[in-house]
């Protein structure tokens, strides 16, 4: 049969039966794992970054410098190294196998979660720090002039103002964390990419297997972008009109602004 049909059709026929309920189930498990890993990393990352970003701006160098070193190292090395260190490192530490920790560590989920959280904390801290540092002087001076103390100043003026400025970069970070999570599959986590690899090895249909994974990531990305945009226009009403006209022009083309800033 193969010699009569064009290549594309043969390929399609060969791959036709890979999307069975069973394989779709595998992908569904993958989507759940990806979402769980990403949302938990982002949640913990957000909570830890807040105090760290203020520490990063501290005038006390004993507080500021360690945070700086931490973000420098984690932003200057590949995430996959950090992941391997957490995963293989912990497994190979002597005595861990015999301790109470073993059931927790045996499952790759926890090491992966720790690695992703530590990584996103480094980037998020820098994003928040940048936003805080860029607070217009006049706003701070005005608050002081009205008799606000430091705590009130941070709570009522600097933080809300910085949060608005940080939103676009933070949205970018959310999407990059989603994409970075694809390497979780290398430590045997069955996320979307892991599912694709599984289907690929079962059916030897890499094109369909990975294209389907790509589409899943794309859909999640676009949904996240939509949410980020909604948040942005909610918190920055002055941008609404501009965005509206701009969005029409750019479609989703400019939505994902840039890769993570380097070290």
């Amino acid at each position: 049969m193969t010699d009569l049909l064009p290549v594309e059709v043969t390929v399609w026929l060969m791959n036709r039966d890979i999307f069975t309920p069973a394989t779709l189930e595998v992908y569904w498990v993958g989507v759940k794992a990806t979402l769980k890993l990403v949302s938990l990393s982002l949640l913990f990352g957000f909570i830890i970054s807040l105090p760290l970003s203020f520490a990063r701006a501290s005038s006390n160098s004993f507080i500021r410098v360690p945070v700086k070193i931490y973000t420098y190292i984690f932003r200057g090395t590949p995430l996959i190294i950090q992941l391997y260190l957490m995963y293989y490192g912990v497994v190979f530490i002597d005595d861990v196998k015999d301790s109470w920790m073993w059931p927790l560590v045996k499952d790759p989920f926890l090491p992966a979660l720790v690695a992703f959280t530590l990584n996103t904390v480094a980037y998020t801290t820098e994003i928040f720090h940048g936003a805080i540092a860029n607070t217009p002087r006049g706003e701070v001076e005005a608050a002081r002039a009205y008799g606000m103390n430091t705590f009130l100043l941070y709570r009522r003026i600097i933080f809300p103002s910085a949060f608005r400025r940080a939103l676009p970069s933070y949205g970018n970070e959310v999407i990059l964390t989603l994409h970075a999570s694809a390497i979780a599959s290398t430590v045997t986590i069955m996320d979307i990419t892991g599912a694709a690899q599984f289907v690929y090895s079962r059916f030897y249909a890499p094109f369909s297997a990975f294209t389907f994974a790509a589409v899943l990531y794309l859909v999640i990305t676009l949904v996240l972008l939509y949410i980020i945009r909604k948040l942005e226009s909610r918190f920055n009403p002055q941008l609404r009109e501009v965005r509206k006209s701009r969005r029409k022009m750019m479609f989703f083309g400019n939505a994902i602004q840039e890769k993570r800033p380097g070290a």
Binding site: D3, I73, L79, G89, A182, F210, L218, L222, P261, G262
Partner: protein, 236 residues
């Protein structure tokens, strides 16, 4: 002291693979980026749509998935192509996709999408007056591009370029997953063989840190050089 259990030489070779891969990918990425930026600014609807599709798709999907798609998917595509050729013409050939070439092309393609945005912004931020002044002197289009537009664009693009390079450098670590013997892959193998993951992973991490710090330093110098025209306020 640091004991690499005889893996030192292989790690060094792996580091060379990483650097070669990164530099070649950068070249491809810059080419793709310039093409994308000019397509988006060309005013041609078809070209604009194509470029937008390219950047959206690439930037909406994880690097690793794209890499696997191109690498594993590309191989089956080539295989079925050679099968079909054999079936039709009886000519037998076999092409093995070279993982290094695949890695360079894939990373170049991915970062071309990001570079495209960098260059587009940079081209747009060249002031109209600078180009007008050149035209008013009677410069031809190509001369204007070569002497005025391009150098000004590069100075605007440098921060984005430096940023993309740093990310690209770290992204090369992913090729270890598709089977290229870069630094990370050597380190993984060594970790498994010697049961000393900390030694090897920390070592490779340190090398990356040195590479990123070094390139940051270089870019800082370049920025100083190219931004010469922008430093210093007016002093009368």
């Amino acid at each position: 002291m640091l004991n690499l259990h005889g893996y030192g030489m292989r790690l060094f070779e792996g580091a060379l693979v990483t650097i070669e891969l990164a530099v070649l990918s950068l070249v491809i990425a810059v080419l793709f980026g310039l093409m994308t930026a000019s397509a988006k600014l060309s005013g041609n609807r078809m070209l604009h749509l194509l470029a937008t599709l390219y950047t959206t798709l690439i930037r909406g999907v994880p690097d690793l998935v794209l890499m696997m798609l191109f690498f594993f998917g590309g191989q089956t595509l080539v295989n079925s192509l050679s099968d079909a050729v054999y079936a039709r013409f009886g000519v037998d050939f076999f092409i093995n996709i070279n993982p290094f070439v695949a890695g360079v092309l894939t990373i170049g393609l991915i970062f071309g999408a990001y570079m495209g945005e960098t260059f587009r912004g940079a081209i747009q931020s060249v002031e109209k007056g600078q180009v007008e002044a050149a035209a008013a002197c009677g410069m031809s289009r190509s001369l204007i591009f070569r002497r005025v537009k391009f150098p000004l664009m590069m100075s605007h693009a440098l921060p984005g370029l430096s940023n993309n390079w740093q990310v690209l450098l770290k992204t090369t670590a992913l090729v270890s997953i598709i089977g290229l013997s870069d630094m990370v892959r050597v380190a993984t193998q060594a970790s498994k063989a010697t049961f000393e993951p900390f030694t090897f992973m920390l070592f490779v991490g340190a090398v990356y840190l040195i590479l990123t710090s070094f390139s940051e330093w270089i870019f800082k110098r370049l920025r100083l050089k190219y931004h010469a025209g922008y430093v210093g306020a007016a002093n009368d």
